[in-house]
């Protein structure tokens, strides 16, 4: 009774959507985010609908399954402008070509009103590694160390880039659906605290249409503004990007608003310098393009993997989103094939040390 009232109330708000973006779909999702019926969420935990927009690579499919399973119930998936990459027996997967917002709204309605069952997990309900049984607390190993508590090992120590302290590096694969990354980019990153120690490109970004012109520049500016905490200004930039002509006055007003936010000072000078231009320069060049002028393109002389190490996370995200996707793809050479790369990674990554304090012996042995 009360629960039904709660659901009815929930239906009157916008649909919380998390977007997994594929090829040629970034601009479309940006436009969709302006629809009042939709509220695009950065975290899948805050969403009820997973929107898969645009075709994905075959190898992204397992990551999509992982992302899908992270959404809280009740949940549903909508495929937009692509064939369904996942198969579920019940309920049937929804696929749509044109009006995504209307479809999302109707799926959400049937989901909340319980006409449509919540989608089950796509992965088996088992921990990532076997762990139960051994050890005092069932952590899966003997003594203090070893084992995989709750199916995951603990971090081991390693040297830090900045001050050489030996603390725990955290290594993980980030992406390909991380909203702060360009769509499709998958990196293997080692962090110490919040500073990137080591990065390796596993998959380059997916190509996106509309790479030049004022609208594309405004969309890129919007991504930067969101990183600076200026979500309203970012939405305004996207709105300007979605209209055709006659946006010069709007761009001027937006630029003044952004200037007053202190964003010029918020980006550290000299950050992410590539081909003689830093993040500030690249942002300024986008503003030029957005106001209808032309800016000279500079060829990148560094790759992403030697640009990122040593950067703190928020700085790294500013750098990562300061390139257009074509340029960034040029900075992400993948020499080895994906399957080969997996065995090579261990050699490239900084050597992890053992937990028990015999680091010197370990190094001597290596």
């Amino acid at each position: 009774m009360a629960v039904a009232a709660l659901r009815r109330l929930a239906l009157r708000g916008p649909v919380p959507v998390h977007a997994a973006i594929g090829t040629d779909a970034l601009a479309a999702v940006d436009d969709l985010s302006l629809d009042p019926r939709i509220s695009v969420q950065q975290s899948p935990r805050h969403a009820a609908i997973l929107l898969v927009a645009g075709p994905l690579r075959d190898e992204d499919r397992s990551d999509l399954c992982r992302l899908h399973d992270q959404l809280p119930h009740p949940r549903a998936t909508v495929f937009w402008r692509t064939d369904p990459a996942i198969q579920i027996a019940d309920p049937p997967v929804v696929s749509v070509e044109d009006d995504a917002a209307a479809t999302i709204a109707s799926v959400y309605r049937s989901l909340i009103e319980e006409g449509r069952p919540s989608e089950p997990d796509l992965q088996p309900d088992t921990p990532p590694n076997p762990w139960r049984g051994k050890g005092d607390h069932g952590q899966g190993g003997e003594g203090m160390m070893g084992g995989t508590p709750y199916g995951r090992p603990m971090a081991m120590t390693g040297d830090d880039l900045r001050d050489g302290l030996q603390l725990d590096p955290y290594t993980a694969e980030f992406g390909p659906f991380l909203p702060v990354f360009p769509p499709g980019l998958k990196l293997r990153i080692t962090l110490q605290g919040d500073v990137i120690q080591f990065a390796k490109v596993l998959r380059p970004p997916l190509p996106q249409e509309e790479q030049s012109g004022p609208s594309a520049a405004l969309r890129r500016i919007a991504r930067q503004l969101r990183l600076l905490g200026l979500t309203g200004q970012a939405a305004r930039a996207l709105r300007l990007a979605s209209v055709g002509d006659g946006k010069a006055a709007g761009v001027r007003r937006l630029r003044r608003l952004v200037k007053w936010s202190g964003s010029g000072q918020a980006i550290p000078p000299g950050l992410g310098r590539v081909g003689g231009a830093d993040v500030r320069d690249r942002l300024a060049a986008w503003w030029e393009v957005a106001s209808g002028e032309t800016a000279e393109a500079r060829a990148p002389d560094r790759t992403l993997v030697d640009l990122l190490p040593g950067l703190e996370w928020s700085e790294a995200m500013l750098v990562l989103n300061s390139f257009d996707i074509a340029t960034l793809t040029g900075m992400c050479p993948i020499e080895k094939r994906e399957d080969k790369a997996h065995s090579e990674e261990e050699k490239d990554a900084p050597e992890p040390h053992d937990h028990d304090g015999h680091q010197d012996q370990m190094r001597g042995a290596a």
């Binding site: 992270q70 603990m154 955290y170 993980a172």
Partner: protein
């Protein structure tokens, strides 16, 4: 009622409101979390280890300076109450104290403790 009782009741009542939110949520949508749902968010990627680690706190040297200022607060509370009575003497005392601590800030700045080490 004493002030302490008033504060305690206000704080406890607010905590109960927050607990009520959890209770309503449990009533409305209680579904146990499965193992694949529990995987930490990495935009589709998977972690190799637990996130809990000996985290490299980059600002650790700043916290030492912070403690110096926190101790200064101890002195400041009683000082604020007697300031008008004591007049110029209190002013000079606090001025000296702040000056010494400011030198600490300058020294820390020179040593780069406000940077992410």
């Amino acid at each position: 009622m004493t002030a302490l009782a008033g504060a305690t009741i206000a704080g406890t009542a607010a905590a109960l409101v927050a607990l009520a939110v959890f209770l309503i949520g449990r009533k409305a949508a209680h579904v146990p979390t499965t193992d694949p749902q529990k995987v930490p968010l990495l935009g589709g990627g998977a972690p190799e280890t637990h996130a809990w680690q000996r985290y490299h706190v980059r600002y650790y040297s700043m916290t030492l300076l912070f403690i110096a200022f926190e101790m200064e607060m101890m002195f400041m509370y009683p000082w604020a109450v007697v300031f008008v009575k004591e007049g110029a003497k209190a002013m000079v005392e606090m001025g000296m104290f702040l000056a010494i601590l400011s030198i600490g800030i300058l020294y820390g700045w020179r040593e780069g403790i406000f940077k992410w080490q």
